[in-house]
Symmetry: C2
Subunit: 368 residues, 2 copies
Amino acid sequence: MQTIRVALGERSYPIHIGAGLIGQASLYAPHLRAGKVAVVTNEVVAPLYLGAVRGALAAAGARSMEIVVPDGEAAKSWETLDRVFDALLAARCGRDSVLVALGGGVVGDLAGFAAAVYQRGVPFIQVPTTLLALVDSSVGGKTAINHARGKNMIGAFHQPLAVIADVATLESLPERELRAGLAEVIKHGFVLDARFVDWLEANMEALLARERAALAHAVRRSCELKADVVAADEREAGLRALLNFGHTFAHAIETGLGYGTWLHGEAVAAGMVMAADLSARAGLLAGGDAQRVSALIARAGLPVRGPQLSPERYLELMAIDKKAARGRTRFVLLEAIGRATLRGDVDDRAVRETILACGPQATASAAQ
Amino acid sequence: MQTIRVALGERSYPIHIGAGLIGQASLYAPHLRAGKVAVVTNEVVAPLYLGAVRGALAAAGARSMEIVVPDGEAAKSWETLDRVFDALLAARCGRDSVLVALGGGVVGDLAGFAAAVYQRGVPFIQVPTTLLALVDSSVGGKTAINHARGKNMIGAFHQPLAVIADVATLESLPERELRAGLAEVIKHGFVLDARFVDWLEANMEALLARERAALAHAVRRSCELKADVVAADEREAGLRALLNFGHTFAHAIETGLGYGTWLHGEAVAAGMVMAADLSARAGLLAGGDAQRVSALIARAGLPVRGPQLSPERYLELMAIDKKAARGRTRFVLLEAIGRATLRGDVDDRAVRETILACGPQATASAAQ
């Protein structure tokens, strides 16, 4: 087991990375309190790992209960959140309760936000079971639910007590979700670390074959990179915004198609290709480097083209995105592989060109 | 104008107290940002003060919008909160927006919680227009909405940028709400400051006659007392819980009757009489001091008896109260006028006796 520390003063916490961790009572024990422990998970994860987690909690001396929510992005809703509150209140969970978020990014965001606002805040432990959650949503304390008008619009910064990142859980992950998780791993390289991009180019086959050593290295390096950024900028005042590379396009794709049609990582993959294309159009990134972005994404088996969605619809959806400041949409662009910049001065025309150039093949052909 | 500072490190903020402040642009100007200012208020307050506030914001150079919610405790609901989010998103308010909470405790709690979680948190300015909001909800950063299973169950600690406490707004306050606000003023005395209780006993008629000097002193001393407690214990780990004197009974009354049947201050008034009675039964408080509590509350024209509600229902409702720890309901009890203590070891039988002794006159007579 390796442990990374996210340095956030009194809100600092450890990320434990290794295989077979979710059943280890000693990892939960330091964080328990007098009250109940409520494990929030979903219908797919519960049969696989809920028993091991509750067993570990019992061994650590905790009284636990379970709250099982539906699978999928649609669960990041007020309705599901209210079911969590209702279960907590019905079980008379007080402020000395602890929540455990057992599952992927959706469960982490939902349970984390529930913990942030239940009785004005109770602590929680993250037990991520997807690659996306391991490398992304479990680091940094961002929690949220969606609103009909936009993704992640209602939420809080709420740091966990600890993250128990068990790479053995990746063995049960569907292929499509493994690839979607790789999108965020790749993103950390593009934005922050050119050497990690070299490593990913050399090890993509090993990752797709789920070689444990390769997965463990990818998870660890991703968490380290993200933890450093979060430590420097917890509330996303500046640096942390760079981790949104590809996300302005991705959120438009997800909202435009309806949440869950594309996986988040798939939308981010296409969004990164678009952001790299836009970077090249803006004269910031060499054409060869933009090609390197799309080539690595393609090798991960991820989409390099956006869905059928008009430029007008993209622009409309992006305008409401939370990164829009003073009426202008801000984009994270690349200046080189491993170096990103936040720009609010991007011309709408260039954005339209990127959207058309990176749209579905059929549209691109028709436009020629 | 007098200014008190709530000392909370980087979250410190000023409370400006005086007459005619809500129209002063210079009080808003230091807190504005690049984005829009959304004034959240209710149907009753809007015709009285919204024009003055928006005028001041315009004079300070801000683009403002208004979000008018229904009057009353029922507005502290997810439905109303979602309408606030919807209006903010429809107007494309970004993270650089500022909210202004213009109204009483309900608007303050609702708008404050909206600010706490909209796009993971935007700042807000409190402009309280009721005595209750001036002396209580605008100091300390507690925000919340209600849940069907309990009051203030969903919320956050979110400190305002500033509080603009205009005592001139008290002149438009209905008599019943003035008295309800006095309940919290009196509470600060009972819990923290025997000399302030002496002052209140000497000046109750002046307060009820709305003499400006008396009101200004009461507001200022209440805010000072509460600000000191909040500065020492922002997250209510200990000391701050003492401000919940009377509130364990009060929340049961409010939930049991349905929110809004009794005003919060009315429920707190009866709750304080009950808590003082319980303090005497527990042998902590002299009988004469318990009488002094109910006498001052009676002189403020506030209820000194609870509503028709069975002891079993009280106990059930109190068990779910957020101050319940390890399955035991905790009560704030008095050891003397001006000195309180938090107790988790109170016998259910004593609580039942208090409830019966402080119930409606009819019940008390029937029991004799």
